[in-house]
């Protein structure tokens, strides 16, 4: 399975799609490393207020300056990566774990179950994502885990849809019919005959929904919903706090959090788009 994905990544490294994917992968991995190493590379300056002078422009001691609460912007930016990636991971992984099986079963069984699920999923999908997440966040309260869950709901329909579509097309393939004629049970057919084909489509969708999740999480924080003030890094909130100071010419507290959001989102998008372009022909070839 992993081999199947790695192969095009390596084989197509010189095509546009391949380059895109590698750049995206590089950026994403970079952020992951930053997130993991945050306690080591930025041990102080991200939570405790007034550790440093307030609103200092970038300087050799504070490469990104300090913010209105006297914190080091660079440290907060680094810890922000951790926060964002945690939220994103929770959200997307739960969405995948729920959407994938439901899509598989719904697509394979069809009938009223399928119609019901499609109705539910389409309704959720139609809702504006940020709004829905905000509503859920309002209900279940603050905290990284809760925000992660709030975002999940937006993405479950996406994984459901992608899985279901692949399932529907693969369901009619002769080798699936062959499995039925051998007497395979539906669960066997779904797991051993259909799932593999769907799995190929997942990484691309994963990256793209991850990018979206980062933005949504940042959006929620920006709106003041979601995370506690004591969270060590919170790009959205930082942006929100920095807004009122822009007029005074304090640009670094807005620019750097914003840049981080953009960069991570772009990295994940590149990875997703690149993977998408590469796996599409694979999907077609699988069927032929």
């Amino acid at each position: 399975m992993i081999g199947r994905l790695l192969h095009p990544l390596i084989a197509e490294r010189r095509t546009l799609a391949g380059i895109l994917a590698w750049v995206g992968l590089g950026i994403t991995v970079g952020f992951v490393l930053i997130a993991i190493l945050a306690p080591i590379i930025a041990p102080v300056g991200q939570i405790a207020a007034f550790t440093y002078p307030v609103n200092q422009p970038p300087s050799p001691q504070h490469l990104m300056g300090t913010d209105s609460a006297g914190r080091d912007v660079l440290s907060r930016a680094i810890w922000g990566a951790r926060t964002s990636l945690e939220i994103m991971a929770i959200g997307v992984i739960i969405a995948l774990s729920v959407g994938f099986p439901i899509g598989l079963v719904s697509g394979y069984l069809g009938g009223w179950i399928d119609r019901l699920m499609v109705l539910i999923m389409d309704s959720v999908y139609a809702f504006p994502g940020l709004l829905l997440a905000a509503i859920i966040a309002a209900f279940i309260g603050k905290g990284i885990f809760n925000i992660g869950v709030a975002i999940t709901v937006i993405y479950i329909p996406l994984y459901f849809r992608v899985t279901r579509n692949q399932t529907l097309s693969v369901k009619e393939e002769p080798y699936v019919e062959a499995a039925r004629s051998l007497g395979a049970k539906p669960s066997t057919i779904m797991l051993r005959y259909i799932a593999h084909s769907v799995v190929i489509a997942i990484p691309a969708i994963f990256s793209l929904s991850a990018a979206d999740a980062i933005l949504t999480a940042a959006g929620l924080s920006y709106l003041g919903l979601g995370l506690e003030i004591s969270t060590p890094g919170d790009w959205g909130r930082d942006l929100s706090d920095a807004q009122s100071f822009l007029g005074d010419g304090i640009w670094w507290t807005s620019l750097f959090p914003g840049l981080m959001i953009i960069l991570l989102t772009v990295g994940l998008s590149f990875l997703g788009e690149g993977l998408n372009d590469m796996t599409n022909p694979l999907l077609k070839k699988e069927r032929s």
Binding site: E173, P174, Y175, E177, A178, A179, R180, S181, L182, G183, A184, K185, T188, R192, Y193, H196, S197, E286, S288
Partner: protein, 437 residues
């Protein structure tokens, strides 16, 4: 003495069945229907429910050890029939009786043990193998499904699989065991499909065009393999094909299918030597012979296999049949087709259009074809109709009951066709009025 070898774990009843009883599979008035998917709006507005009668009242018995050919063109229903035999498709009505047991509507869990007795090989070798499974896994899988790992160790199972691979000519089997389908040739893939079907030691194998997608130079090997396996394992085949030459070579009996019905069924030799049904004759005539010295001028039926949603009335082949009678099922549609054919000639088209009007004024319903006449005097139209009927195919003209004016429509009405009955002629059964006296 049957070379049944290792019998897998199974319920005692099926075990006894396969060892003791002779094999017999009876098909009784089988009907298989498909609902056509149409836009919702269209379904609201049209009165006929778009149902394709893919298999329309088919009856025959499959005897042990024979190779029964199902021969037909597209739309004949042969593949649908084949798949219904192994219950991949649920019949709408009729009966499938396997060794005395009615399996037509058995639920999936009760059919599952019986599936070991009947297997299917598909047409497209490239699509019938799971691309994510190695050859070894693919051939082991049927054993796994039916519980072999409860009675045998992994090594024992592997050697069973390797043995079957050797039998079907997949060598070197140790190497091919761990390869994926993508690494194999078409012929090897088809052999894998055969091995997969064979490993359960079925009694019946339905082979749906098993060599149609293979190169000619390797077809013979795969067919020979199937013949060898038949002798060795006392197999029975239902061999589905559109290729009459292969059917003649391989099959003991053949059933010629047209639009969901069997039009002729009997010993292969008799049918090929002396085909009775006009469709069978047409098929045989149409085959191109790979010998330039034997070029013949062919007399071919016109048109193509019609739409299966609304098949022709009476005998379905009647609009194309070169030996058609006036009782074969002429109906309104045939008359309109005749009008359409006349208009291929530009001079006639002009006059026809002038008197009879544009073709979309005419409509057909069942045995009638009609056209609305408003202010016009129907007289000249009726006269013209009688005149052109003189130029039409004699049998169709004879089948017309009346050409008259009813309310404000001109109506051309046809007689009821004579009912078709399966008739025994010269050792085979034919469904054709020519032989019903």
């Amino acid at each position: 003495m049957s070379v049944r070898g290792e019998i897998l774990v199974s319920t005692i009843s099926t075990r006894t069945l396969s060892q003791q009883m002779d094999f017999e599979f009876r098909v009784d008035d089988l009907n298989v229907h498909f609902q056509l998917k149409r836009p919702f709006i269209q379904n609201l507005f049209s009165r006929d429910r778009a149902v394709v009668h893919a298999v329309d009242g088919v009856s025959f018995t499959i005897r042990q050890g024979e190779i029964l050919g199902l021969v037909g063109e597209s739309g004949s229903g042969k593949t649908t029939l084949g798949k219904s035999l192994v219950r991949l498709i649920e019949p709408a009505s009729g009966h499938l009786v396997l060794n005395g047991k009615d399996i037509t509507h058995l639920g999936e869990s009760r059919i599952r043990p019986l599936r070991r007795q009947m297997q299917i090989i598909f047409q497209d070798p490239h699509a019938s193998l799971n691309p994510a499974m190695t050859i070894g896994q693919a051939i082991t899988h049927p054993l796994k499904i039916h519980g072999i790992f409860k009675v045998k160790t992994a090594e024992e199972v592997k050697s069973m699989v390797l043995k079957v691979m050797r039998e079907v000519g997949l060598s070197p089997e140790d190497q091919l065991y761990s390869k994926y389908p993508a690494d194999l040739s078409g012929g090897q893939k088809q052999r894998t499909a055969i091995a997969r079907a064979l490993i359960l030691r079925p009694r019946l194998i339905v082979a749906d065009e098993p060599v149609a997608m293979l190169d000619m130079s390797i077809r013979a090997k795969v067919l020979q393999l199937m013949l060898d396996l038949r002798s060795k394992y006392d197999l029975t085949y239902v061999f589905i094909t559109h290729d009459l030459a292969t059917a003649k070579f391989l099959c003991d009996r053949i059933a010629i299918m047209y639009l969901g019905r069997i039009v002729e069924i009997g010993p292969s030799k008799e049918i090929f030597e002396d085909p009775k049904h006009p469709y069978t004759k047409a098929l045989l005539q149409a085959i191109p012979i790979p010998d330039p010295k034997k070029r013949v001028s062919r007399v071919l039926p016109k048109g193509e296999v019609p739409d299966a949603v609304n098949p022709p009335a009476g005998c379905r082949f009647h609009p194309r049949c070169l030996a058609v009678l006036h009782t074969c099922g002429w109906e309104g549609r045939d008359f309109i087709d005749y009008l359409e054919q006349r208009r291929l000639n530009p001079e006639r088209a002009k006059e026809d259009e002038r008197i009879l009007g544009p073709l979309d004024l005419w409509s057909a319903k069942g045995s009638k074809a009609k056209r609305k006449v408003r202010q016009q005097d129907p007289g000249p139209i009726l006269a013209f109709l009688k005149e052109i009927l003189g130029e039409a195919q004699q049998q169709m003209a004879q089948a017309i009951q009346s050409v008259s004016v009813k309310e404000d429509h001109i109506v051309v009405e046809f007689q009821e066709p004579e009912k078709l009955v399966q008739t025994q002629v010269d050792a085979r059964t034919v469904e054709c009025l020519l032989y019903q006296q």
